[in-house]
C-alpha cells in the first residue's frame, strides 16, 4: 500500500496553518504526518504538541509534524520510511510553490502517491493576488492544479464577496470542486481525498468520503433545466452535480460546479438522473 499525500497549497495568508490545526483536531485516531516548509510558518496550537525536536514535532494522537526545509524530496523519502508509517501525509507547500509540480514529483518517490491538491483562497485577497504582476500567474497555476479549492475567511468578507470569489476561482480551477469554509472547518476526509469529489460516472461507484454525500436526484415530471441547475448552484453545500433531467424540450444535461452551472444537449442513450455531491453537514 502506498502512503497517500495531500498537497495543501495557497498563497500566504490563505489559512493553511488554521486548516492544518483543524485537521489535527479532527484526526480521531488517524496518524497524520504534517510536512511544512519551516516551523516558523506553522505555529501548531500548543495543546496539540507532545514533544519537539529540531525537524520533528510529536503531536497528540500519534500525529507528527516535520519541516522539510530546502529538501522536500529527501524529507518525503524519510517520511515514507517512517515506522510505524503514518496513515496520511499532508504536505503544506510554501506560498509560492506550484502544487502541480510537487504532485508530479511525488510519483518519483517510491512508496507514496498523490491523493490530490487542495488550494486555499482567501476570498478577500484572491482577486488582488490574481491581478498582481508578480504573483498573479503563480496563483493561477496553483488554482489550475487544484482538485479542491477551499474559500476561506468568508465569514469576515461577507456573502457577496464569497460569491464573487467563487466565480473568480471557478474560472481558474475548472476541474476543481469549490467549497467555502472559514476557520479551517472542512471535514477531514474531504481534505484527505480531494480527488474523490470528482464527478463519478453513472454506473461507477460514487465517492464515499465521510463528510460528503453523493446521491442521485431524479426530479418528478418535467422541470425547467435552467431553474433546476440554478437552484443547485445556489446551495452552498452542493459541490458538484452532473446528470440529465426531463424538460418540456426533452432530456437536457445539467452540470454544476460550485456556483457555476451549465445546461447542454444530452449525449446519446442518456437517462434521467443527476448525481449531486454535497457536504453532509454544512460547516
Amino acid at each position: 500500500m502506498s502512503l497517500p499525500v495531500t498537497i495543501l497549497s495557497g498563497y500566504l495568508g490563505a489559512g493553511k496553518t488554521t486548516l492544518v490545526n483543524q485537521m489535527l483536531r479532527q484526526a480521531d485516531g488517524k496518524r497524520l504526518a504534517i510536512m511544512v516548509n519551516e516551523f516558523g510558518d506553522l505555529p501548531i496550537d500548543a495543546d496539540l504538541i507532545e514533544a519537539e525536536g529540531d525537524d520533528m514535532i510529536a503531536l497528540a494522537g500519534g500525529c507528527v509534524c516535520c519541516s522539510y526545509g530546502d529538501d522536500l524530496m529527501a524529507a518525503l523519502t524519510q517520511m515514507a520510511a517512517m515506522q510505524p508509517p503514518p496513515d496520511h501525509i499532508i504536505l503544506e507547500a510554501s506560498g509560492v510553490a506550484l502544487p502541480g509540480a510537487i504532485a508530479s514529483s511525488l510519483g518519483i518517490v517510491a512508496g507514496i502517491r498523490a491523493a490530490g491538491v487542495v488550494v486555499l483562497a482567501d476570498v478577500a485577497q484572491i482577486e488582488g493576488q490574481l491581478a498582481n504582476d508578480y504573483i498573479g500567474d503563480t496563483v493561477v497555476r496553483q488554482l489550475a492544479a487544484a482538485d479542491l479549492v477551499v474559500l476561506t475567511k468568508g465569514d469576515i468578507a461577507g456573502a457577496a464577496q464569497v460569491a464573487h470569489a467563487r466565480t473568480t476561482v471557478a474560472a481558474h480551477a475548472d476541474s476543481a470542486a469549490v467549497v467555502e469554509a472559514s476557520h479551517g472547518r472542512v471535514p477531514l476526509d474531504v481534505v484527505l481525498n480531494p480527488v474523490q469529489i470528482a464527478i463519478p460516472q453513472r454506473g461507477e461507484p460514487h465517492g464515499n468520503a465521510a463528510g460528503l454525500i453523493s446521491e442521485v436526484d431524479v426530479p418528478e415530471g418535467e422541470v425547467d433545466a435552467d431553474d433546476y441547475a440554478r437552484e443547485l448552484a445556489s446551495r452552498t453545500e452542493v459541490i458538484r452535480a452532473k446528470g440529465h433531467v426531463n424538460t418540456a424540450q426533452g432530456l437536457r444535461t445539467v452540470q454544476v460546479v460550485g456556483s457555476q452551472w451549465e445546461v447542454s444537449a444530452p449525449p446519446q442513450n442518456a437517462q434521467a438522473g443527476v448525481v449531486v455531491i454535497r457536504l453532509k453537514d454544512p460547516v
Binding site: Y11, L12, N37, E38, F39, G40, D41, S67, Y68, G69, D70, D71, L72, M73, A74, T77, S94, G95, V96, L98, A101, I102, S104, S105, G107, I108, V109, A110, G111, Y134, I135, D137, T138
Partner: protein, 545 residues
C-alpha cells in the same frame, strides 16, 4: 619586522599611486607603496626581491563562488573545456560523448570497491549538439556500480540503470516532465531539476549537503584560489550550522590556509524571522579569515533552466514564466529588517522581473528604514536593462554580474532562452558602469571555473563559446575589469576599507603575476599567468601548493 617587496610593477588601484615598484609590509598589513626611498623611513627592513620580475596587483576577489567547487574535485571531471584541478593537473576537456565515456571508464577502473558509487561533474551536452545522454550510455561504463553525472549548469543529472534501480525509479509509470522516458516506458536516466535529482543523488555519491563543503574541499578550494590569484572569496549560499562554522573557523585559522572566506547564510528552509536572527548570531563569530553575518536570498531560478522570472516578452521559445523561490512578502520582511538591523543582503535574481521585484521592494523598504550605506547586492542580475541599472544606482545598491555566463551559455540565450536582443544586453557591465552602479563580476564557481582574470576577459570581450561577440556596447575596458575584480568587489562586500587596493593600512593581499594584465592585450587577459598570492603577508606560490 618589515619586509619591502620589490616588483617589476605594482598596480595599486590607488589613483594617487596607480603604479609603483615597492610595497612595505609589517604584520600582514601594508605600510606603504612607492619607490624604495619613500619606504625606508619606516625603519629596519628586509628587501625581498623574489617578485622583482613579477607584477603585483591587489589580491583578486571572487565575490560570487561556492566552496563546493573544492569538494567537486573529489569526483571525475567530464566538462567540455580544459580545467585546472586544485593540484595543478590540467584536466582535458571531453569534446564528445565518446570522450566522456572513455574518461569515465578510465576513472571507473581505478575504483577498488565494486559497489562504490561514481559521481562525475560538469557534463555539458550543449557543446555536442545537445545529444541526449542516457542510462544506456553510462551502462557501458558500469552496469553494477551506480554512476551519476552532474551537468555544468547544476540543474540536470544523468545516471545509469543501477542508480535508477537503487533509487526505486527503474520502473514504468513514472510521470514527470523532468524524467524523460524511453520507448520501453522506462526512465532514460536523465533527471532534470532538483526535485527529480535529489531522490537519486545520494545513491550516486552526491552528498545532500555538498553545498556546505567538507574539510578536504575547503583545502582544495584554497589551492584553486592561489592558482587564480584570489585572496578573498565568497561562499555564497550556506546553511551555516554550528558544526560548519566551527570547521570553517578552524581551517581558515591555520597559517597555511591561503584564502579569506566570506560565507553567506541563504534563506531556504528557514523562516524569515529565524533567518534574520541567525545572521545576527553569526556576525560576531567572524574572524580575520572568515566573515559571517551576510544573507543570500534566492528570488528566482535560472534562465537556461527556464525558471528565472522574466518580464514581458518572456521566454524566446515560449516557455511559461519561471518560479519564485521566495514570496514578495518574505522578501519585504527580510529587506526591511536587514536595513533596520544593519545586515548585508545579497539577492540572487536572474530574470529581469525578479530584479524589478527587488528594486520595488527595496524602494519601499528604504522609505521605512533609510540607510546611507547599505550596499545590498543584486547577484547575477543578468537581464537588467538600462532603466533598472539607473534605479539600482539611485537605491545605493550594487550588482555582481555573471560575466562568465556570457561565454559559456551566451549562444544558448541567443538561440533559445531570451533571443538575440536581450541576449546582447545580458550581464551589461558597460551599462552598469555608465549608470553609476558599483559593480563586480563573477564565476559562480563551480558553475564556471574560478578565475577573476578570465572573468575580466569575458566582460572585456563579451565573446561566446562559438566566437560570437554578444553585446558590443556593454564591453568594458581592461582597467574597468581589473577594478571590478579588486576594489569593485571589495566595495560590494563592505570590505574596501581593508582589501581591494594596495595602499597604506590595508591587508597585504597581493596577486602575483608573471604577465602584466595592463600590457598583455585585452584579448589575452585570460592568459595572464599567475605565480601565486600573498595573503595577509604570507606568500603562497602556485609551485608549492
Amino acid at each position: 619586522m618589515i619586509t619591502i617587496y620589490k616588483a617589476r610593477k605594482i598596480i595599486t588601484m590607488n589613483p594617487a599611486h596607480a603604479h609603483t615598484t615597492h610595497v612595505a609590509v609589517r604584520d600582514g598589513k601594508i605600510l606603504g607603496t612607492g619607490p624604495l626611498e619613500d619606504l625606508e623611513g619606516w625603519g629596519d627592513y628586509t628587501l625581498d626581491d623574489r617578485f622583482a620580475d613579477k607584477v603585483l596587483m591587489p589580491g583578486l576577489i571572487e565575490a560570487h563562488s561556492h566552496l563546493m567547487e573544492g569538494s567537486l574535485w573529489a569526483y571525475t571531471y567530464v566538462g567540455f573545456f580544459d580545467r585546472m584541478s586544485p593540484e595543478g593537473e590540467m584536466q582535458k576537456g571531453s569534446k564528445n560523448l565518446q570522450e566522456v565515456l572513455a574518461k569515465l571508464k578510465e576513472a571507473e577502473s581505478k575504483i577498488e570497491d565494486p559497489d562504490a558509487p561514481m559521481p562525475a561533474w560538469s557534463l555539458d551536452p550543449i557543446y555536442f549538439d545537445n545529444v541526449r545522454v542516457t542510462r544506456h550510455d553510462l551502462d557501458q561504463v558500469s552496469s553494477t556500480r551506480p554512476i551519476g553525472i552532474m551537468h555544468a549548469s547544476g540543474h540536470i543529472m544523468n545516471v545509469n540503470t543501477k542508480a535508477l534501480e537503487l533509487a526505486g525509479m527503474m520502473r514504468a509509470g513514472v510521470n514527470h516532465d523532468g524524467v524523460p522516458l524511453g520507448d520501453d516506458g522506462m526512465p532514460l536516466g536523465e533527471l532534470k531539476g532538483p526535485d527529480v535529482m535529489t531522490p537519486v543523488s545520494p545513491f550516486v555519491g552526491f552528498d545532500r549537503d555538498m553545498l556546505a563543503c567538507d574539510e578536504k574541499g575547503i583545502w582544495r578550494f584554497g589551492k584553486l584560489c592561489v592558482r587564480a590569484g584570489v585572496t578573498t572569496a565568497t561562499d555564497l549560499a550556506n546553511k551555516l550550522p554550528d558544526e560548519t562554522v566551527n570547521m570553517f573557523t578552524k581551517i581558515t585559522g591555520q597559517t597555511k590556509y591561503p584564502t579569506r572566506i566570506v560565507s553567506l547564510r541563504f534563506h531556504h528552509g528557514i523562516s524569515p524571522e529565524d533567518l534574520i536572527d541567525h545572521a545576527i548570531a553569526l556576525k560576531p563569530k567572524s574572524t580575520e579569515m572568515l566573515r559571517l553575518g551576510k544573507i543570500k536570498v534566492i528570488v528566482d531560478g535560472s534562465i537556461q533552466g527556464f525558471s528565472a522570472r522574466l518580464r514581458e516578452p518572456g521566454y524566446f521559445n515560449g516557455a511559461p514564466n519561471g518560479l519564485w523561490y521566495i514570496s514578495p512578502e518574505h522578501l519585504k520582511y527580510i529587506l526591511e529588517n536587514a536595513l533596520e538591523k544593519g545586515i548585508h543582503i545579497n539577492t540572487h535574481t536572474n530574470g529581469d522581473q525578479a530584479t524589478q521585484l527587488v528594486i520595488e521592494t527595496m524602494t519601499e523598504a528604504l522609505r521605512k528604514h533609510p540607510s546611507s550605506d547599505h550596499r545590498f547586492v543584486l547577484q547575477h542580475c543578468q537581464l537588467a536593462d538600462a532603466a533598472q541599472f539607473r534605479k539600482i544606482a539611485k537605491l545605493g545598491m550594487c550588482v555582481n554580474l555573471f560575466a562568465n555566463h556570457h561565454f559559456y551559455w551566451g549562444d544558448e540565450h541567443y538561440k533559445l532562452t531570451v533571443g538575440p536582443e536581450r541576449a546582447e544586453r545580458m550581464n551589461a557591465a558597460g551599462t552598469a558602469l555608465r549608470e553609476g552602479v558599483p559593480m563586480t563580476i563573477h564565476s559562480d564557481a563551480p558553475i564556471t571555473p574560478l578565475g577573476p582574470l578570465f572573468t575580466g576577459w569575458c566582460a572585456v570581450n563579451r565573446l561566446t563559446a562559438s566566437g560570437r561577440t554578444l553585446g558590443e556596447a556593454d564591453k568594458i575596458t581592461v582597467d574597468q575589469a581589473l577594478y571590478a575584480i579588486t576594489l569593485g568587489a571589495a566595495y560590494t562586500l563592505h570590505m574596501d576599507q581593508e582589501i581591494g587596493s594596495i595602499e597604506a593600512g590595508k591587508r597585504a593581499d597581493f596577486a602575483v603575476l608573471e604577465d602584466d594584465p595592463e600590457e598583455i592585450g585585452s584579448d589575452k587577459l585570460k592568459d595572464v599567468r599567475v605565480w601565486g598570492t600573498v595573503q595577509g603577508g604570507r606568500v603562497f606560490a602556485v609551485a608549492d601548493i
